[in-house]
């Protein structure tokens, strides 16, 4: 079982997302992450989701996704070279000497502090999932107050595009 990244171009219409999600739950497949938003053409949405599966299972999932009427195109990004990015916002307790340490760590990870109070830093970080996870491990665990991650978004490298 390996991590699979599936990219879907679909109609931006009510119920479309629930059909995609329903397909996973009704077959007992788990969705690890999911991100979705309209494309440059607002009648369509682009959705990236990650799931765990072997080749056979993933082939069946992509075929089933293709069968949904609202789904226009499906590719498994992780089948070839691709770029993945995820955005994380993390709220950290930052007092005393920790303020400097956190600031240092944010610089190393090329993140940004986007909100500051006398006791709190809110950090924004973009990268692949592993980098975001590494940042969480790099800061003092007890300082972490809240984490929100967008889930992976991805594109194929090179000229390959997912469009109508």
């Amino acid at each position: 079982m390996t991590k699979r990244i599936i990219s879907i171009l679909m109609e931006n219409s009510p119920g479309a997302l629930s059909r995609v999600v329903g397909l996973f739950s009704q077959r007992g497949y788990n969705i690890e992450s999911l991100s979705v938003a309209p494309t440059e053409d607002v009648s369509m949405s682009r959705l990236t989701l990650t799931t765990l599966g072997d080749d056979e299972k993933t082939e069946q999932i992509t075929k089933q996704l293709n069968k949904l009427i609202d789904v226009i195109k499906v590719i498994e990004l992780s089948n070839s070279v691709f770029i993945e990015r995820e955005l994380m916002m993390i709220k950290l307790k930052a007092t005393g000497s920790a303020r400097e340490e956190i600031k240092h760590c944010v610089d190393i990870f090329r993140g940004q502090i986007v909100d500051v109070t006398p006791t709190i830093y809110t950090v924004q970080l973009v990268g692949d999932s592993d980098k975001l996870t590494a940042f969480i491990h790099a800061v003092d665990e007890t300082a972490v107050l809240e984490v929100v991650r967008t889930g992976i978004s991805g594109l194929s490298r090179g000229e390959k595009v997912l469009s109508l």
Binding site: S18, Q60, K67, I69, D70
Partner: protein, 576 residues
Amino acid sequence: MENLSGGDLLTRALTDVGVELIFGYPGGAALHIYDALFRQNKIKHILVRHEQAAAHAADAYARVTGRVGTVLVTSGPGATNAITGIATAYMDSIPMVIISGQVPSARIGEDAFQETDMMGVSRPVVKHSFMVQDPSEIPIIVKKAYYLASSGRPGPVVIDIPKDMTDPNQFFEYRCPNTVSIRSYTPTVKGHGGQIKKAVRAVMAAKKPIVYIGGGSLAGQGPELLTRLVKKLGVPVTSTLMGLGAYPGTDEQFVGMLGMHGTYESNTAMHNSDVILAVGARFDDRVTNKIEKFCPDATVIHIDIDPTSISKTIAAHIPIVGSVESVLRDMLKMIETSGKSLDTSALNSWWQQINEWRDKHGLYTQNRFDTSGMIMPQEVVQAVYEVTHGDAVVTTDVGQHQMFAAQYYRFDKPRRWVTSGGLGTMGFGIPAAMGAQLANMDETVACFTGEGSVQMCIQELSTCTQYNLPIKIININNQALGMVKQWQDMNYDSRYSEILYEDSLPDFVKLAEAYGHVGMKVTKREELKDKLKECFAMKDRVVFMDIYVDPHEHVYPMQVPLQSVGDMFISRTERT
């Protein structure tokens, strides 16, 4: 152009897509639609007694005619009652459109009276669903719904219509294109030429081939093309429960149904084959038995319009995505122009082998059941087959009687066998018979059922009275839930958990009479045929035949669980 209310837009659009018959049941949220129906005269509405029956009747109408069946129900319980019927159609890929009333848009989500999220509840059992959000879109949605239901791999489509969308005081222009296209929906019809060539090569090189057909082969010209191909090749053909009738059932080359209760010769031939040509079948678990032991020597060629059916359970060596019609036509052309035929001596010895299996345990060469005691269920099917000259439209409920009907009623023509295969829905038989009868009032329609199943939609006897639907109900009464009993006999040391009615069965003769029908009880072998003749001679009456049969009989052959396709119990005492 005159402007119409939402309700009138709907009936107009339904008329334009060719709907002549709707099965339904009115209620609060559907009142505007029912009023629009009242004010037109092109569409006939059949008032059922329970929404489940509306869906089954529309489903059977679709199976018999090849057209889309139409259902109209109200919100809440009306919609949820229809769900079993929708799921039945979904599992068997039957084209159907279900129009459900919904509470007014402004009330959705407020737990309004008779509110159910029909889009959500039906989602796993529909091909697609629409909720109307603007009345002017009703015609285009209707057009899309019928297109989706009937194209590609067919299936049920729901249109949920909030009550305000059919407001009689708001008017809209009727706008509907002649054709619709959906950018995200382009079913592959034409098979890949290279794949077809490969398939033909594999078939022509086969020494022990078998054609395995399913419900998909009934589409369009499928049966005709299939018969031509099988005749041309001279190969054996077997069918799933769903595919019966796509190839003539009494033809020499037909080796019977395969699967759990398939014939000995078909299952054995499948297991020993070297090439399987699967046509519109989906390698269902009732066919394959244990996947790992499935047909070890066979090259699998799989033709299906639905890519998800291919290599879902059994990996296809040569997959062909496309309509059965188009692919078979291409295959035939290729074979006919090549002028080649199969290796005659190999094919002859294959047939010799198959005929030996046929003689040994076949169902039709001699009776495989004991006729010394009570009437046997198989005899009932045989007798009905003879009395109706094998030319009735047959519907069934679910259980032992269904399997006996599938085994012993041999269909020479397509679309005359109506059974719930995938979902196995008890209660299907009577409403299905109504739908089949309405599709053609001149046909003889027989419903094989059991005293268990028949009570699940028995209320429809009243609908039969109202619309003069002279169906013949053949109740194979074994006084127990027979199929469950068989499994309890075989796997639970005959511990009969909850399968007996303890003298609570109704007097079916009186029950039939109470609805204005004819009822007959048969208990003796000597009178079986005469009573059946009497029954089928009453062309304009519903006749309920309550036929008491041996309560201990099992359905055989039966595949041994978790074994190969060809591993079967032949009788209580014999195993392959």
